[in-house]
Amino acid sequence: MALLLRSFVRRGVCLSRIQSVSISPLICRHAAPMGTTAKEEMNKFWAKNTRLNRPMSPHLTIYRWSVPMVMSVTFRGTGVALSVAISAFAAAALVLPGSYPYYLDLIHSLWVGPALIGLAKLGIAFPVSFHTLNGVRHLWWDIGKGFRIPEVYRTGYTVIGLSLLTSAAVAFLL
């Protein structure tokens, strides 16, 4: 995407040049008129649009939801949630006076019935399981494999299935 943007901008600059200097676009592209990086150009995009107070185009609200899209959002959601949970745990460890077994017993005494405990375990196991398995799928993509659409769906359904299975197994059997 950045590549497309860059070739855009380069051509854009050439076009404005053409009006005044009438160099052919082909030669202009050769000359590489701007030395901006993709990052700089992205920043310029945001600076301009914030300055002009432009609203963001609708995206999540209008785009047709698909399995890969939902999985990607969930992957990010579970990642953020797990990170925040770990940070909260760490902060609690620093701040709270008692020891872990003490608080665990405290929470356990409040818990009513095995169903709720099972549900809580599932609540922890599923994010971990889904994030881990989809993470493996991401690593698979990172080595360049599995980009064809049927493959994306196949690996996607595999991840969903496996994470449901493993989290249920871990929550109710272990």
Partner: protein
């Protein structure tokens, strides 16, 4: 590469970019003459100008990307180790790996959604603080309390 060239040449004429290769090829495009006579040279020139930039940037971003993947794999490997060989070594390793993985992951989220020089700086500072507290807390827990592996085991025994 060639497909990107075609896309941009369509875009230039103010036509909505089509992402379906076959439709693109089927349209009778009024392509500027010089594009038609030197399609391969065009691609070659884009490659050439890309080479101009290849040297000027630093490799920091790409090294960071690689480091993120390496860390993910290391973290994956730590799972079974934590299960079969719990103890202080894996506890502290997990503390480090989890914190760093989370730090880099949240960093990517911030990069995606936070824009504007000042906001980016503040967000990253906040993240750094959070990760520091997280690592400190986990190490404290490992030292003064039961440790990560034992904590998970206890949680699950209930």
């Amino acid at each position: 590469m060639a497909s990107i060239v075609r896309l941009s040449s369509v875009c230039r004429r103010g036509v909505k970019p089509l992402f379906f290769q076959t439709t693109l090829l089927a349209r009778p495009l009024v392509v500027p003459h010089h594009y038609q006579e030197q399609p391969h040279q065009l691609t070659a020139k884009i490659h050439a100008s890309q080479a101009l930039y290849a040297g000027s940037g630093s490799k920091a971003a790409s090294m960071h990307w690689t480091a993120e993947r390496v860390l993910s794999i290391v973290l994956l490997a730590m799972g079974p180790v934590a299960y079969y060989q719990p103890g202080p070594v894996i506890d502290y390793s997990l503390a480090a790996a989890l914190t760093l993985h989370g730090h880099w992951g949240l960093g990517q989220v911030l990069t995606d959604y936070v824009h504007g020089e000042a906001k980016i700086k503040m967000a990253n500072a906040g993240l750094f603080l959070l990760s520091t507290v997280t690592f400190a807390g986990l190490c404290y827990f490992n030292y003064h309390d039961v440790g990560i592996c034992k904590a998970v085991a206890l949680l699950w025994s209930k």
